[in-house]
Symmetry: C2
Subunit: 330 residues, 2 copies
């Protein structure tokens, strides 16, 4: 039996495409002391992976060429030589884009697949949810009555940000691309409003949706959406920069049109990456799992079936084809 894997075949110079990946087969390795072999059920395709495809210094080391694409995944233990896990256990791991992952047992997180669907632990009850939690509570720290703007509001992180912000009494406005996403953001997720940035006059729509200005921006996108939002930022506003996907992460520049408001409104801007904040997980993970199980955090996933479609799922996610968490079911 062989292990099918997707490796990075070439580094893109501009937009990433499926041609930069290669599906290959490799033998399933034998399990050493302390190791665990896991059959992958789902792997996550995330914007940050595009940045790792570049061979430049960034917050994550570059993805190596001809090696299995790294990333979060979830599956079922097949064989364990690690004391804390046995065959059949459901685990979340950094297993990457492959059918079987062999990992040190101590790097796996055992999860309760009867409490939540397994893939939830890659989404709102996993790193995705904790990312939302950290940026919202530890950087924006919204107060009741404040207005929080969330870009990529229909995405995996944005959808959780908005629901958490609603729960502390903020007015929550999403920005998303297209009527279907905006409908989902308002009707299903409960945001107060959602601005369709593809629909025309972004500035007027943002102003109408944020009559009291904007106190916090959870930024996943950058570019014109952020620039427009900043024109409405209130005194002591906070901007958590989680992603800048509108720039494509291809190594090009991502300008900010006008930083005058950062001075005159005394705004805080903070870029973050969750891997710096291990201390947040023990706080956020149990709370998030409880909220997801109770239906207090609603979520959708866009699941692509078959590892052979993994690269296409990733490229589609970069283009905004997904609603909610983008996953590949192996």
């Amino acid at each position: 039996m062989m292990n099918r894997q997707i490796v990075l075949a070439a580094r893109p110079t501009g937009a990433a495409g499926v041609e930069h990946f290669r599906l290959q087969e490799a033998p399933i390795p034998s399990v050493g002391e302390g190791e665990v072999l896991v059959k992958t059920r789902f792997f996550s395709v995330d914007p940050y992976m595009r940045m790792r495809m570049n061979d430049v210094k960034s917050y994550a080391p570059p993805q190596k060429l001809n090696e299995v694409m790294g990333g979060g995944s979830a599956g079922i233990v097949v064989e364990s030589r690690f004391s804390g896990l046995v065959a059949g256990d459901a685990v979340v791991m950094g297993g990457g884009w492959q059918e079987y992952a062999l990992l040190p047992g101590k790097t796996l997180r055992k999860v309760d697949a009867s409490a939540l669907p397994l893939e939830a632990y890659l989404g709102p009850a996993g790193m995705t949810g904790v990312t939302a939690w950290h940026g919202l509570f530890n950087i924006i720290a919204p107060k009741a009555g404040e207005t929080v703007l969330v870009s990529a509001a229909a995405g995996a992180v944005g959808s959780v940000v908005g629901q958490l912000a609603k729960q502390v009494g903020a007015r929550v406005v999403g920005v998303a691309g297209g009527a279907e996403k905006c409908r989902h953001v308002v009707d299903d997720l409960g945001f107060d409003a959602c601005v369709d940035y593809k629909a025309g006059d972004l500035a007027a729509a943002l102003q109408a949706a944020c009559p009291d200005g904007i106190d916090g921006i959870f930024e996943n996108v950058g570019g014109v959406v952020m620039d427009t939002a900043l024109r409405h930022i209130n005194t002591f506003g906070r901007v958590a920069i989680c992603g800048l996907i509108s720039g494509g992460y291809g190594g090009g520049k991502m300008p900010m049109a006008d930083i005058t408001m950062l001075l005159t409104q005394r705004v805080l801007v903070k870029g973050f990456i969750l891997s710096d904040h291990a201390d947040v997980f023990p706080v956020a993970l149990p709370a998030l799992a409880t909220k997801v199980a109770a239906g207090e955090i609603k979520w959708r996933r866009t699941i692509t079936r078959g590892i052979e479609n993994g690269a296409a799922a990733f490229i589609g996610m970069l283009a905004g084809a997904n609603i909610g968490k983008a996953l590949v079911e192996v």
Copy 2:
């Protein structure tokens, strides 16, 4: 006896000039209960005043047309109907650009003009020094061995920032315009290096001066200096935005060329204005006065004599004609 005053005569549409001000005479008002009449000795001309000349919402309310230009000043009490002050006392006040100021006694700060020259209380031992203190210690919070970059390093605020940062063991690099300012910054103020942004290859000079990257940026200028510095920012870098004078404060946009590093290096950017931070004064003022008196904070002033030259002094300061604190001696 009349009171000569400079009022704002017109709002500039582009660059500010002396033609936007008018020198006028007014009667010296009589002193009411709780009030104090002060003969101005010095008034301060500061970059933020340019912003107040615009009729737009900003951190300070607009300067009103045909009213005395507001701002910090220092002088000697002529007549007091306030219990805490008597004629002859030296005070610092918000007296603006005029020969005599009538103010509520409770708004005046009595200072010891025998410990320091009176004008020091408008400079390193006054709001200027506290501005440096707050941005450096409360936003950048440099550690020993870190590199702090200070733009407008020969200016009133920047010169204090760099000396305070040296005292906590940081490597301090200034940016200033011209060889004379850079010489002053290194030889007189003790910065480790100073980059002359007018001298040519700013990027190469910054890189050479900051071999270990940049951990903190005290930003007074914005534009190409800030953009270039940000390319060298280290992980968890902090940027305190105190001013953006390169934009001229005329209402135009001040772009940032590339914010990618804010995300990938997890940088904090914070705009601030000292008037939000009244709590810093009681901590910083005594410490600054002690350091200035002990020669641990060196400072220069560029003094323009005669209120009739006040507007020209202000316009010159905006163009960078001053070294150290820009003051008008009345």
